[in-house]
């Protein structure tokens, strides 16, 4: 089967620094492709190029077979790209429910209407409530985002991304800053989501990566030094060398 997301020879330079150095990778249907690497390896730079926030200097990005290299963020989102932000990025003055409804609204369209009432667009609210049902955020639906805890914001990031019904999900450190229990909850949630859509998971938490990933790529100084299954990566001496300074056992 063809890849949902395909990256070919991507290069991004900032002055003398090559932040992305000929990166080639793909995310296939049904897989959770994890991208790991030490701090400063260029993971965020890469994610931002995939989303369209940064323009690469060389190379190409394909989404479901369509080249999107020159497209801006909204155009890529329209083609089915979904993402979560490492530092939560939500509508802080709006409630949890309104944040989700906004994502549904984005998907449904009709957003240049000036004579309707959002409060009466029932499909938005019923879908938002449906997404919230059974999640820990259900009882927090009417709280403005500014009043949520860090963990709750992380959960909301995911719900908002899912409400957009993407074909592929880019997760930028979904566990960052979460406590142990919250992390575990997020892993369980992502495992469920993985049943329905492929993901590119950028994450520092190795427990989470090994629990979720079907394939791992290791990024060091902007280059992908290895790609393989969890076991292959665990056993790879080059990865141990680069990633862990050959100190401990991986994981």
């Amino acid at each position: 089967m063809s890849a949902v997301l395909e990256v070919k020879g991507l290069v991004k330079r900032f002055g003398g620094l090559t932040a992305t150095d000929h990166v080639t990778l793909e995310v296939r249907p049904g897989e959770v492709h994890a991208l790991i690497g030490p701090n400063g390896a260029g993971k965020s730079t890469l994610i931002n190029q995939l989303c369209g926030e940064l323009v690469p200097d060389e190379g190409a990005v394909f989404l479901g077979g369509t080249e999107v290299t020159g497209m801006d963020v909204p155009a890529r989102v329209a083609l089915g790209l979904g993402r979560t932000f490492q530092i939560t990025n939500l509508l802080n003055d709006m409630t949890v429910r309104e944040n989700i409804a906004m994502a549904v609204q984005a998907r449904e369209g009709h957003n240049f209407r000036i004579w309707d009432a959002v409060a009466r667009r029932r499909s938005l609210w019923s879908e938002a409530d449906g997404l919230l049902a059974g999640t820990p955020l259900q009882n927090r639906a009417h709280i403005p985002v500014a009043g949520l805890s860090h963990g709750e914001k992380k959960q909301l990031e995911l719900l908002v991304a899912l409400a957009r019904k993407p074909r592929i999900l880019l997760l930028d450190e979904p566990m960052a800053g979460l406590g142990h229990a919250e992390s575990q909850e997020m892993v369980d949630r992502l495992r469920e989501v993985a049943q329905t859509m492929p993901m590119l998971l950028v994450e520092h938490d190795m427990d989470a990566v090994f629990a979720l990933a079907t394939r791992i790529s290791v990024l060091v100084y902007g280059r992908i030094i290895a790609t393989g299954t969890v076991d292959e990566i665990r056993a790879n001496p080059e990865v141990r060398e680069a990633y862990l300074g050959a100190e401990d056992e991986l994981c």
Partner: protein, 337 residues
């Protein structure tokens, strides 16, 4: 608890709106007893300027676009009325094709359309920038329009256009100040109702999201430029309506309406009343014009005192008069702020 207080709030709002309608309808009778004609004229000007201020607030407060060029749309609305009137009395077509008219039902839509078109052009170019550049570019465009009309000698240049008679409207006697007040009140009410709906519409909601977090909205798939431009055009149309009403009320359209100090005055009204609140611009406009009138009667240096009051409001209220009143109401009804 939150739904209860929401119900309470919406009930309070309904009572306040009903009260405001009664007061606004009774204004001519009240001014008959106290204040006289000058008070009626002040309140009429408050209604007209509040349309312009609320339009500016739509892009500034709800959309986060700080425009310092909205006098351009206000002035162009006035000039549409003026130009059409000149050609109506001359019985010559404007630019050789457009016949003049003195019918309010034609001049108002024409003013709205022309100012909307101008906003489309200015917005399309300005919205490619942001922040300080956006402020300066909108200011620059407004100044261009200002100097264009100053140098337009055929239409009075700096002296502007005198509209000898207010536009005709449904056969009413528009020379009667009372009638004119009610006509303007009618347009004002329709405008406020439309704005109320607009803010709660799909588009209004997207715009509010855009102001809070443009990056998030882009990640949801909203292309910011198109939404902001649409908001800018709608806002320009509102200012055009205000300008057209003002030209009818003053029976005069001049470059003064286009001057950048007019843009600054509109912005002052919005800030004074409360940026991003529905009733803020109305409160701000009322406060600004009343202060202007009262202070100017007391001292030549009224702008100095107005500046001091503005500073006190901005630093002291966090959200303008609207927030101050909201806090006051909360204090009275719940015994706490």
């Amino acid at each position: 608890m939150s739904t209860q207080s929401q119900e309470f709030k919406s009930l309070g709002l309904k009572v306040a709106v009903a009260l405001a309608i009664v007061v606004l309808l009774a204004v001519p009778f009240i001014t008959d007893i106290v204040g006289g004609n000058s008070a009626l004229s002040l309140i009429t000007r408050i209604l007209i300027y509040s349309i312009a201020a609320a339009s500016l607030n739509f892009v500034l407060g709800y959309g986060g676009m700080i425009s310092l060029g909205h006098a351009a749309f206000f002035g162009i609305g006035g000039y549409v009325v003026g130009l059409l009137f000149v050609h109506y009395t001359d019985e010559t077509p404007l630019m050789g094709v457009i016949p003049g008219t003195n019918q309010l039902l034609i001049t108002i839509p024409a003013a709205i359309a022309v100012s909307g078109l101008l906003a489309l052009i200015i917005g399309a170019l300005s919205l490619r920038t942001g922040g300080v550049q956006f402020i300066m570019i909108t200011l620059a465009f407004a100044q261009m329009i200002f100097f264009f009309f100053v140098s337009l000698k055929a239409y009075g240049g700096e002296d502007g256009i005198i509209v000898r008679r207010t536009n005709e409207f449904l056969g009413l006697n528009m020379r009667d100040r009372l009638t004119l007040y009610y006509v303007i009140l009618g347009f004002w009410a329709v405008f406020m109702l439309a704005l109320w709906r607009l803010i709660r519409s799909s588009f209004g909601t997207v715009l509010r999201g855009m102001k809070q977090n443009e990056r998030r909205m882009a990640a949801l798939g909203f292309a910011p430029y198109r939404y902001k431009l649409y908001a800018f055009v709608l806002s320009g149309m509102g200012c055009g309506l205000a300008g057209a009403l003002m030209a009818n009320f003053l029976r005069f359209a001049s470059p003064d309406m286009l001057h950048w100090t007019k843009s600054a005055a509109l912005m002052t009204m919005v800030i004074l009343g409360g940026v991003g609140s529905f009733f803020g611009p109305l409160l701000g406009t009322a406060a600004y014009l009343v202060l202007e009138t009262e202070l100017a009667a007391l001292t030549e240096y009224w702008q100095f005192w107005l500046g001091l009051i503005l500073m006190a409001v901005v630093l002291g209220t966090r959200g303008g008069l609207n927030a101050l009143i909201a806090r006051g109401v909360a204090l009275i009804f719940r015994g706490r702020a």
